[in-house]
């Protein structure tokens, strides 16, 4: 029996910033329904790999293939939104840019689902609400894959739990420094160290064998 084609397939993707190597050539497949935790110490290349998978950064080498017409949601570590626009205006702008057929309906749904204050400027939102808005924007266009770069880094435990309740269930790739989230949410773990993949396997195997080594 052959495995289904991955939704995302990265082959030999690498990235340099001038003379600095941020990511050595790596191969990663993302399959339907997986929740992949991308872990590693600071500077390991997690954000770079996620940015390349999201299409916001071009790789210096290698290719990223995705299923034709498939949407990919992207939640960068630092909220990517316009401070002077309200939550509704931010969502409407990105909904229109995504080509949503009925942007107002999509926006109303997301505002309701995420419990966001619609008419407050993004700059005046709490850290938790800004991150929720950041995630809500990523969910416009109903992506089949959601890429999250340390989405809960600045949130308290309650906010983390509520955020995961909103994004669980689909195909998710997230980077984290929080080992607890791996056990709770990840089905697979990819470990990056100094720009290289040093482990790629089921979460349970990672917890059993490698957890202590990665952050040693």
């Amino acid at each position: 029996m052959t495995a289904p084609d991955p939704l995302l397939r990265a082959r030999g993707v690498a990235r340099r910033f001038g003379a600095q190597v941020a990511l050595e050539p790596v191969d990663v497949d993302v399959h339907e329904g997986e929740t992949i935790a991308l872990i590693g110490p600071n500077g390991a290349g997690k954000s770079t790999l996620l940015s390349i998978l999201a299409g916001s950064l071009e790789p210096s080498a290698g290719t990223v293939e995705r299923v034709d017409g498939m949407g990919v949601g992207w939640v960068p570590q630092r909220p990517s939104l316009y401070d002077r626009l309200t939550a509704r205006e931010n969502l409407e702008l990105f909904a229109r840019l995504e080509g949503a057929e009925n942007p107002r309906v999509s926006v109303d749904d997301l505002l309701s689902t995420f419990g966001l204050p619609a008419d407050r400027a993004a700059a005046s939102l709490s850290v938790g609400n800004r991150q929720r808005l950041n995630v809500a924007i990523a969910l416009l266009g109903e992506p089949r894959v959601l890429l999250l770069d340390e989405p809960t880094a600045s949130l308290d435990p309650g906010q983390r739990r509520r955020l995961w309740e909103l994004v669980r269930g689909g195909t998710v790739v997230f980077s984290t420094q929080n080992l607890e989230e791996i056990g709770l949410y990840a089905s697979r773990v990819v470990v990056l160290q100094r720009g290289r993949v040093t482990f790629d396997g089921p979460a349970r195997e990672y917890e059993r064998v490698h957890a202590a080594e990665v952050f040693a």
Binding site: F17, S51, A54, G55, S56, L57, E58, V72, W74, P76, R78, P79, S80, L81, Y82, D83, R84, L85, E89, L93, F94, R96, L97, E98, A121, I137
Partner: protein
């Protein structure tokens, strides 16, 4: 709505929510334009010229039977230059140090030579080299011309008194002695009382014709003294502050400042707000992002430029200034504002991409605006290199376009040429900005 239009709409919304920034963007360049105008005005203010009176001219001089008040003559000159009396040594010292730009010396014996009417006395003029000295020379020449005109009138009146004496006769004083001059008219009267003869008739006819001919002398002398006179029309004209050139510069300076700062700041802000990574995922290409900022600069330049033109026009109309504001040319001006705003916006986008951060981009834009503007103000004849550099930037083309579009009788050739410049420069700077925008993703 296109993706460029969506980003443009967002930027306009953000701008509307920044009233302080918007006010500063409008007020600052207008204040700068005013200051530049004031500095230009100071540059054309009266230069200081030393007056060295070695002949010790009296307060009142009598020439040709007319009294001349020296202070009045100096006062008239003072409309153009600031004449300061000083000693020869002081004048020489101040000329060397540049405190005065020229010295005008009245040499000893000047007045006696002038009164004699036998030869033309000279005033001695000395000036520094370069700078405004050519202009001062012109003004001193104008002073001598003005004095000559007054003296000519006096000399002509004196000459005419003698002519009238010969024509009509009467009492006259020469060398302190009084004489009774017969005159041609009275001579003719006496002749016709003599016994009739052909000789008498010929002499009487000569006296009559000579008297008639001398009667025309007054006009002929006046015409010889001043073949051409310059009459200043009393009609209300534009003040220099309302001149076409000032309007063109004010418009160009304002939109240069505005377009550079807006485009640079808005592009760099996409990185500051971390939005560029999301946009670059196929939502908006980097090229579209650059053109959205160019469009932002163009739209704001159009709105502000038309606003300035309207205010300027209202002031001109309210003042009843001759020529008025050329309202029918506003559509042509609007096209220029759009193109100039876009071209300058492309320069701003390049600065924003190179600077990467909004605050740095804004600072760089402010620093770059002034050299661009001042390069455009330097006449090509004064500094050819400045002219070439200026030609490679949109500011000077905007100035030429605005001045021509508003006030030239036949603006089309200039307008078409400057459109080509603005579009070409906009495309070049826009393409450079597109390449540099990749830096924002790193």
């Amino acid at each position: 709505m296109s993706r460029i239009a969506l980003v443009l709409r967002k930027d306009l919304l953000v701008l509307r929510r920044s009233p302080l920034l918007l006010a500063l963007l409008i007020v600052y360049p207008l204040v700068v334009a005013g200051l530049v105008g004031a500095v230009a005005g100071y540059g054309s203010s009266k230069p200081r010229v030393a007056l060295v009176d070695e002949d010790h001219l009296p307060a009142v001089v009598h020439i040709g039977g007319r009294a001349f008040r020296i202070t009045d003559a100096i006062g008239e000159v003072g409309k153009n230059v600031h004449l300061v009396r000083m000693s020869p040594d002081e004048a020489a010292r101040q000329l060397r140090s540049g405190r005065v730009v020229a010295t005008l010396t009245v040499p000893p014996g000047f007045l006696d030579e002038l009164k004699s009417g036998l030869s033309s006395p000279s005033l001695v003029y000395q000036t520094t080299h370069g700078g405004i000295s050519p202009r001062v020379t012109q003004q001193v020449q104008a002073l001598v011309y003005s004095l000559d005109r007054r003296l000519q009138e006096a000399f002509v009146q004196t000459d005419l008194r003698y002519v009238r004496l010969i024509q009509h006769g009467g009492a006259a004083t020469f060398g302190g002695k009084e004489y009774d001059v017969l005159g041609l008219d009275r001579m003719h009267g006496l002749l016709v009382q003599l016994p009739k003869s052909s000789q008498r008739d010929r002499v009487a006819e000569f006296a009559r014709i000579a008297s008639v001919a001398l009667g025309q002398t007054g006009n002929l002398l006046a015409a010889t003294a001043s073949p051409i006179t310059l009459e200043r029309a009393s009609e209300k004209s534009r003040s220099s502050l309302l001149s076409a050139q000032v309007e063109a510069y004010a418009l160009a300076l304002t939109i240069t400042f505005l377009a550079l700062l807006l485009a640079a700041g808005a592009l760099a802000a996409e990185r500051d707000e971390n939005a560029i990574g999301r946009l670059a995922r196929g939502l908006v290409s980097l090229g579209e992002l650059v053109w959205a900022k160019v469009a932002l600069a163009a739209v704001v330049a159009l709105a502000l430029g038309l606003g300035i033109a309207l205010v300027f026009g209202v002031i001109v109309e309210a003042g009843g200034v001759v020529g008025g504001e050329p309202w029918v040319r506003l559509p042509l001006l609007a096209l220029g504002l759009l193109l100039a705003g876009a071209s300058l916006g492309a320069v701003g986008a390049l600065l924003g991409a190179l600077a990467r951060e909004a605050r740095t981009a804004s600072l760089v834009a402010v620093l770059v605006v002034m050299p661009i503007v001042f390069l455009g103000l330097v006449p090509k004849q004064v500094a050819p290199a400045a002219g070439w550099i200026s030609d490679a930037l949109p500011f000077v083309h905007a100035v030429r376009y605005f001045a021509s579009a508003l006030y030239d009788a036949r603006p089309w050739s200039t307008v078409v040429r400057e459109i080509a410049w603005l579009v070409g420069l906009g495309a070049i700077f826009g393409a450079a900005a597109r390449l540099a925008t990749r830096r924002l993703l790193a």
